[in-house]
């Protein structure tokens, strides 16, 4: 359809997103139609694109790409400005207090640079993450099916619910000594601690997500003769997907905190050991640097899950549970 472009700039030809729109580069998008025809769509304000994109947004002659520079630049600017204010505040406060407990921002950054250069940090990260990742994966493997099962079965729910609530409120750290006593000081015990930290929140979130599926959808599917298997595949699993992703995100955060607490309190290895070492030498800057590495890792992992979330569940609205 060679005339599509002219047509598009006259009539507001609408195209649907996001399935029909693919990002092909920075600020450039390709719109797929049912007819074999491709168009470049410039200047989208958000990704993934939401709502209806009118093709009359297209410039008649796609000249140099003009993304909404002002908006993104403003956001970036504000972000770095707030970071700058935070750093400055920290620096000034630390200088003023001149305490052993609070190193200055610059000292911390210097310690961080030093730390990153050492093998020690990477070994510690490797050891800690083994336990965290294994524990988290295990918690997902058990927690997601468990949440689905509880969410679907009214009878099971009645009996399991009180325990889940209790478990959600229990400080998981209280369970750590028992885990250690049962499994010793090796990797297994640390995996189990990360597991116990993550599983409850994953289970509870997945269950809640399954409960938010509109019951008329189930009725609808049944009226078209859906079998139980089809109901699971085409309604429950699809409908619970956003909740599963939310559960995973919360689970990652819990697993990280579990990993660090067990290392600090019981089994001094990995990052926890590093922190304890810095504590022993009153090296506050090193301690802060280590903590910031953990924070950075947590943020990175959460970003990955958020990204997955947006990728896999683009239909969900902002007001859904997050």
């Amino acid at each position: 359809m060679p005339h599509m472009h002219e047509q598009a700039s006259q009539a507001p030809l609408q195209c649907h997103c996001p399935t029909a729109v693919r990002r092909t580069g920075r600020g450039a998008y390709t719109v797929a139609f049912q007819q074999p025809c491709r168009l470049r769509l410039e200047a989208l304000t958000c990704w993934p694109p939401r709502g209806i994109i009118s093709l009359n947004m297209l410039p008649r002659n796609p000249g140099p790409i003009m993304p909404k520079l002002s908006e993104t630049a403003l956001k970036m600017g504000l972000r770095s400005f707030s970071l700058f204010v935070f750093a400055l505040g920290w620096e000034l406060l630390a200088l003023r207090l001149d305490s052993l407990l609070l190193p200055t921002f610059t000292e911390t950054i210097a310690a961080l640079a030093q730390l990153i250069a050492t093998r020690q940090l990477w070994e510690a990260l490797w050891i800690s993450n083994q336990a965290m990742v294994l524990g988290f994966l295990l918690a997902s493997l058990v927690g997601i099916p468990l949440g689905l099962l509880i969410g679907r079965g009214r009878a099971i729910e009645r009996y399991v619910d009180p325990y889940l609530s209790v478990l959600l409120a229990t400080p998981k750290s209280a369970l750590m000594p028992i885990v250690i006593m049962a499994t010793g000081l090796g990797l297994v015990s640390r995996v189990l601690v990360a597991f116990t930290h993550a599983i409850v929140v994953i289970t509870v979130t997945v269950r809640a997500g399954l409960r938010t599926i509109d019951p008329t959808l189930i009725e609808m599917a049944q009226s078209f003769g859906a079998t139980e298997r089809q109901l699971w595949r085409k309604v429950f699993l699809r409908g619970a997907l956003p909740a599963v992703l939310t559960g995973l995100r919360l689970g990652v955060a819990r697993a990280i905190s579990g990993m660090i607490s067990v290392e600090l309190l019981l089994v001094a290895v990995g990052i926890g050991r590093l922190i304890l070492n810095f504590q022993g030498t009153f090296d506050a800057a090193g301690l802060y640097a280590t903590v910031s590495v953990v924070l950075a890792e947590a943020l990175l992992l959460l970003q990955v899950v958020s990204w997955l979330d947006r990728r896999m569940a683009p239909w969900r609205r902002e007001r859904d549970i997050r």
């Binding site: 649907h16 008329t216 609808m220 599917a221 009226s223």
Partner: protein, 253 residues
């Protein structure tokens, strides 16, 4: 032909003690290709009745038969249109319309072809790849209607399908429904709150009483088909509406 003989259905109420009698001694016969409107005040078991015919609920007493065979569950001869549309929020219009066929394991290419035909028929061409929340209520119900028609059922069960759209959209949807049914005749059971809608669409209006739900009276509409555009001026139209109103009012007293 759909036959209900002496049907009864009782639900346990929320607190588990009192029981709600939704249907009691319900008799109804719907001929093939007849358009029957079920009218009655809220809570008179209209939706329960529809769901028993759909096979989503079983009756406690009596029996529901379609062409002489008792209903034991949902079947390919029936399709339902829901009041709140019941569209899959994660699927676009094509996938939603094809959903019934998907559940019946129709290959993708064939079911999407069929879905596109029906999307066209209900006037949604161009919206194939939209998601439900990008559509207005009226458009969403067109998707619901297309989905039901896509499986080519003999019987169309409609549960207050136009209840949650505004008055103008409702009139448009009514006209389009009539148009679609002119082309493919189907047996329709249409639950509604609106006397106007019942008379405008139905061959027969069945008035139900609440608690327990049963047939109070039936009215043959006897208006020409296809319904003329100036139906509102037809004396029979006004007369029927008035009759229904008198009965409903007496019932509420």
């Amino acid at each position: 032909m759909i036959e209900l003989r002496d049907c009864g259905k009782t639900f346990p109420s929320q607190n588990g003690r009192a029981r709600v009698v939704a249907l009691k001694g319900m008799d109804l016969t719907v001929r093939a290709q007849e358009f029957v409107c079920l009218l009655g005040p809220s809570g008179c078991g209209k939706t329960t009745l529809l769901k028993t015919i759909a096979g989503l609920l079983s009756v406690d007493e009596g029996e529901v038969c379609i062409d002489g065979r008792p209903v034991t569950g949902p079947g390919p001869d029936r399709a339902m249109v829901f009041q709140d549309f019941a569209l899959l929020p994660w699927a676009n219009v094509v996938t939603n319309v094809a959903f019934g066929l998907e559940l019946r394991s129709v290959p993708r290419a064939i079911r999407e072809q069929r879905a596109r035909e029906l999307i066209d028929a209900v006037g949604l061409a161009g919206f194939e790849l939209h998601y439900p929340r990008q559509l207005s209520g009226g458009m969403q119900q067109r998707v619901g209607l297309a989905r039901a028609l896509a499986v080519d059922p003999k019987i169309l069960l409609m549960d207050e399908p136009f209840g949650s759209v505004d008055a103008q959209t409702r009139r448009l949807l009514q006209e389009d429904l009539m148009g679609l049914l002119e082309r493919t005749r189907k047996t329709v059971i249409f639950v509604t709150h609106s006397m106007d809608e019942a008379v405008r669409l139905g061959d027969r209006v069945v008035l139900m009483t609440p608690r327990p739900g049963r047939v109070h009276d039936t009215f043959d509409v006897e208006l020409p088909r296809p319904r003329p555009p100036d139906l509102d001026k037809h004396p029979r139209f006004a007369e029927l509406k008035e009759q229904l109103w008198q009965q409903l009012r007496a019932m509420q007293r």
